[in-house]
């Protein structure tokens, strides 16, 4: 029994039954398949995490985001947030801080943008809903993500990394419109 020493002293020489061997073989091969899927998706898949990231002083990131917002703001949301609409295919900035995502963005469907994300204070979680894309946002690191909205509408950015008492109030927004149009 498993609570007693092995019956055969030289247990490492005992023969393994075929059923057990077959299962080990299947499990091992399945592991290889799952490993290959991740590699395959980096080659053929369209949803991969960007490896582009830079160390950055939060103050510098704040300044860049402010400049970006000033330059491209087209209107205000009903909540008073500026909505920046960058040219299609361009660089887009969004910062996270206690407890907001700033600014709001208006993007065009089918266009590809370089989204620069960073935090000014603590860690935050960028959870784009309902499309359900989730990224971790760190202070001092600028993460550049290339993304292409494929549907129009209003999308929420829920903070899903606990960031203190106002965590549940931290919601941002991205509007996606048809190419060549605006809301």
């Amino acid at each position: 029994m498993a609570i007693h020493p092995p019956e055969e002293r030289i247990w490492w020489n005992e023969r393994i039954e075929r059923g057990e061997l077959v299962w080990i073989g299947i499990a091992f091969l399945w592991g290889l398949v799952m490993f290959s899927m991740m590699v395959y998706w980096h080659i053929e898949g369209k949803q991969n995490l960007s490896n582009e990231a830079y160390r950055i002083d939060p103050a510098v990131f704040e300044k860049r985001t402010e400049e970006f917002t000033e330059k491209f703001t087209v209107r205000e949301d009903e909540t008073g947030y500026p909505i920046a609409k960058p040219p299609a295919g361009g660089d887009v900035y969004m910062l996270a801080r206690l407890w907001e995502w700033w600014p709001m963005l208006e993007l065009e469907k089918g266009q590809t943008y370089r989204l620069h994300l960073s935090s000014l204070d603590w860690q935050h979680g960028f959870s784009l809903q309902p499309t359900n894309i989730n990224l971790q946002v760190h202070p001092g690191i600028e993460h550049v993500i290339t993304l292409t909205p494929t549907e129009t509408g209003s999308f929420g950015i829920v903070c899903n990394e606990f960031c203190g008492l106002g965590h549940h109030q931290m919601v941002g927004r991205i509007y996606v419109v048809e190419a060549g149009k605006s809301q």
Binding site: I16, L49, R173
Partner: protein
């Protein structure tokens, strides 16, 4: 010089008092027995406290109930993680380590006094961190990601607890050396002890990681260090945080083997295979801290892919092996017990009314189907994009740590009570139902949290209606339904948990004394061996035939493959990003 009798052994001038277990004939060191009791009792106390906190969390996340105010919610959520994930489980694991060494090897425990020092260090550390959290200045969640800062005694308490646990692990290793020196067993250690050694080796790595990150963080919290890198913190912290879950896996798999050995006389199908599976844990589980860094900036894709898969899923391979050898050992034993008709008589006529067996089997099934499969999916590099930090994550780990580890530990409690506490379980009828009640509750919370997480609901979030937020977002109605069902099943699980605590505490204080006359009945219902001679018909030397197990693992494998690719399909539907 060594003189050993049934009562005392004096070796090298060290005296130890033993009693002989009437059920197993093992010699039990009384000092070890006291320590097992102390650690198990501390574990149950923290389970009771932490479980209550968990119920409050679930009731707050039930949108229609929304019990606690936000500040209190985050405080209670921090305390919940601390008390159940850390204190309940590690205290119980120390009890398991002492049991698997001193008791199973019929050996005296090395240095009981140091073991007591370890126990008190763990108690002091655990209380200190609890105090820090309850004072309200350390609602930083169990993970305490920098640069969010807790009170210094939050970290100090964790450090003291970890040092205590490390000392206890060393006492375990010392006991193995003593057993070998004093030749208290023949050949190799039992498989259960081997599993415990696996857990202990991983524990050393885990606690070392904890020290590497918590000591500087403590110094940072008191102002001696100015900066802790946020990504580095997560990497090393999860070297502790995730690896400690692998201690749990190794420990509860060892517990599964122990329970089936005691309740139905199951033998490992192959010592070599089961031990190799444990060994794979030692080699590869530590890479899993990458699971928590799959959507972080600044780590390369190669690093993520290699580490998140435990090299080539070699630790998953270990678990899949146990997933076959444990039910296989049950089937083989039951067929030898005479339940040899058809494909599933062995399973139908298993001792389902014995809470130790029932809890163990539910733990096995739920750990595999719910916890194991969801864990691999969650830890797939790209799929993590649609699941990271959603409530899918707690859904997954409630299936592993609660349905898997906690339920396995509850199950073996029903054997430890008569064997170690020498008390007969009070309320056997309620005890019979306890694992089912708890198991159904936990299955529900795991499934519904995973469901809500798939719909994007955030974990660690006070209010998914965003009632006091300036900007809002509407989650789908199904997500609200799932969170409500989660609350209902949390109540069911809590009833099972309360029942467990009442039965355990009641038995320790009021249970009938167990001795040679009633020890066997005290272990709970056992399969009645069939006398039809099936023993001779089935299972000649080294041969067995396990059709039931093959069907079970086939169902498991097909579910795994299907669910895995369904999630790739979900992923392929989100916005392209690179």
């Amino acid at each position: 010089m060594s003189i050993a009798s049934a009562e005392t052994g004096i070796i090298g001038g060290i005296a130890a008092k033993f009693r002989t277990c009437p059920a197993t004939g093992l010699k039990i060191d009384l000092a070890a027995e006291k320590l097992i009791k102390a650690n198990a009792v501390a574990a149950v106390v923290f389970l009771a406290i932490g479980g209550l906190f968990g119920l409050l969390v679930a009731l707050t996340r039930w949108p229609a109930v929304h019990l606690l105010p936000s500040e209190m919610f985050y405080l209670v959520l921090t305390a919940h993680g601390l008390d159940v994930l850390l204190l309940w489980i590690i205290f119980f694991e120390i009890a398991v380590l002492y049991f698997a060494s001193a008791v199973l090897l019929s050996c005296r425990l090395a240095t009981p006094r140091i073991a007591w020092a370890a126990f008190w260090l763990m108690i002091i550390g655990g209380l200190m961190t609890n105090v820090a959290v309850l004072q309200g200045e350390s609602s930083v969640m169990f993970t305490s990601y920098v640069p969010m800062k807790a009170a210094p005694h939050f970290y100090l308490g964790l450090i003291l607890f970890a040092v205590g646990a490390l000392v206890a692990v060393m006492v375990f290793f010392g006991t193995l050396v003593v057993a070998r020196d004093e030749r208290t067993y023949e050949g190799s250690v039992p498989l259960v002890t081997f599993g415990a050694i696996t857990a202990a080796i991983i524990a050393v790595f885990t606690i070392a990681s904890g020290a590497i990150i918590l000591i500087p963080t403590f110094l940072w919290s008191v102002g001696y260090i100015s900066h802790i890198d946020t990504v580095m913190y997560k990497l090393v912290w999860w070297g502790m945080g995730h690896s400690s879950q692998q201690i749990n896996v190794a420990a509860h798999v060892a517990v599964w083997y122990a329970i089936i050995a005691i309740t139905i006389g199951a033998k490992p199908l192959s010592e070599k295979v089961s031990r190799t599976a444990f060994f794979l844990y030692i080699l590869f589980l530590q890479l899993a801290c990458a699971h928590h860094l799959l959507v972080e900036p600044g780590l390369s894709a190669e690093w993520r892919v290699f580490n998140t898969s435990y090299a080539l899923y070699l630790a998953v391979l270990g678990s899949m092996i146990h997933g076959m050898t444990v039910p296989g050992a049950i089937e083989a034993a039951q067929r030898k017990n005479g339940f040899n008709n058809g494909i599933f008589e062995w399973l139908r006529k298993a001792p389902w009314s014995n809470p130790a067996f029932a809890g163990m089997f539910l733990s096995l099934v739920m750990f595999g189907f719910l916890g194991g499969i969801s864990g691999v999916v969650l830890g797939t590099e790209q799929i993590n994009l649609i699941l990271h930090n959603t409530i899918y994550v707690p859904g997954h780990f409630h299936a592993t740590v609660v349905a898997g580890t906690t339920l396995a530990f509850m199950a073996i409690t029903y054997l430890l009570l008569p064997l170690i506490f020498q008390r007969q379980v009070i309320w056997p009828t309620l005890a019979k139902w306890q694992p089912y009640l708890f198991g159904i509750g936990v299955a529900g919370i795991s499934l519904f949290m995973m469901g809500a997480g798939t719909l994007g609901v955030s974990r660690r979030h006070w209010d998914i209606t965003f009632s006091d937020a300036q900007v809002t977002f509407d989650y789908p109605a199904t997500a609200f339904l799932m969170m409500g069902l989660n609350g209902i099943f949390a109540i069911v699980a809590s009833l099972g948990g309360i029942l467990y605590v009442l039965i355990t505490v009641g038995t320790v204080f009021f249970g009938k004394k167990v001795d040679a006359s009633n020890i066997v009945e005290s272990l709970g219902p056992m399969p009645q061996k069939q006398v039809s001679g099936a023993v001779h018909e089935y299972g000649g030397a080294g041969t067995w035939h396990l059709p039931g197990t093959y069907i079970l693992v086939t169902v498991f494998f097909l579910s795994f493959v299907l669910y895995y690719f369904v999630n790739w399909k979900y992923l392929s539907e989100i916005w392209p990003l690179s």
